[in-house]
Amino acid sequence: MRDVINVELFKLWKRKIFIGIFLLSNFSLVYSLGIYFNWSFIDINGKLDLISFSASMWALLMMLGIPLVLFTFLAAGTLGGEIYDGQFMLEITRVKSIKSLVLGKLISIVEVLLSFYILNMALSSLYYIVFVARSKNGLGISWNIESYHSRLLLVSICGVLFLILFISIAMVVSVNFGTFRAVLLSLSVYVFLKFVSSIEGIRKLLPGYYTLIDDNDFSGLILLYQLFIMGLFIGIAICVMINMIKKRNY
């Protein structure tokens, strides 16, 4: 399966996706410079330390929906896009198994997502140290990890898992609907979840509670439940995807 993952990454590299990923990872630079130069349109209340700044930048990106659109588009394109454009035929007859092809495609997108997350956090940290730490919004540079830091990081990791869930959904939908409709349908699912999450009684049960609700309650139990429910849905999506690919005529 590693061969499939590598070749998918190679194709993404050749399509210059990583330039886009790198540029987007510099999102926090705008905020850092804004804080440093006191730009009027950057308005941050309170003071931030290194981890809370990095986690806030990630949360802001997630709130804007940029990673959601980007990664559902990449995921749908890598499967449904190739099915509808015809390149999938070149792959499916040559790979060891359909399972390894589908998982390889999914894992390659997840690897890009993880690179994006890590790069984003690393660059946010760098820009914090260079521009924010000594500004009016900065708390200097401290390497002490408080409990709320762990909470912030765990919530941001839940955001990554939420994106993996949507990558899986986009891939499933793309098998029968192609890239663009898969992205639109995935975004519709997100909007639906966002709408349902406004209902107080069930919001904690929804997959992606920590991403959908800004003012969330953090507890170990909810965190475990969230990891379980998202993992379960991702697993179901993978099984459905493999079955759909096996049954499809090309």
């Binding site: 061969d3 499939v4 590598n6 070749v7 190679f10 194709k11 050749k14 399509r15 454009d85 015809g86 390149q87 035929m89 070149l90 792959e91 499916i92 007859t93 040559r94 790979v95 060891k96 198994s97 092809l101 049954k247 005529n249 090309y250």
Partner: protein
Amino acid sequence: MELLLSVNQLVKKYDTKTVLDNVSFEITKGEIVGLLGVNGSGKTTLMKVILGLTSFEAGEIKHKGNSNYLKSFKSRREFGYLLDCKLFEYLSGYDNLYTVGKYANHWQGKTKTEIAEEINGLLDLVDLPNSKKRVKGYSFGMKQRLGLAMALMGTPDFLILDEPFVGLDPVGIEHLLGFISNLRKDLDITILISSHQLNEVEQISDRYLYITNQKVKEVTKNSSKKYVIKLNNPDKLLLNQLQSIADIEHNDVLFEAKNELINKVLKIIYQNQGEITDIQVTNDNLVDLFRGDSK
């Protein structure tokens, strides 16, 4: 002769429409078999079924006696194919071959130099330059040749070519015909080649499978030939004169491939200022089959 592929009582339907109905045939090692039929007769579907790209409702396909060949990675690697599939347009020809080889696990245990040598060898074989030019900028003929190089990767023992002559200019067709003949001669590759262009398939095939009314008919190669001359808007007088020595089908003039006859036919066309759009020499059996189907 070793039996390479056997298809027994194959039934393929798209929803309720039957495309292939109880199709049976065999292909032995080293043969070049032409798969013929009018557009939409099911040639591509049959090839896709053999390659496992499309499911089928009933029947059995065996490769070297094994009906589970599609489940075996080793068996599937023995097939090479050129279907109407799109290439990775954003990659160069070299990168396309590298990518496909990577999916097939073909580069495992090979050094970068060995991989480069093999890819460059394949590009040379199909007469394509190793440039950084993306496939997006290739001509149709170049794309066909790259597809052929992909099909030949790993030296398969069974090659399936779907309409390989479509979009090629006469020089390209001539080149491809020679290339396919050499594949059998040099590498002993068995080839199933589909086309609705009789001339080309006829030149290289040992025998034909002809798909008509969802069935496959085996057609042996006949030494008797026919000329087919296609005319552009011939007038009635011309057709009446030709009718005395040849068959007329729409605007096509068909007659036995004898020198004295062609002289007579051409003379009549010349005298009546008829405009010839195409001349074909083809197998007598095949012309009759196609004429029957296109009516």
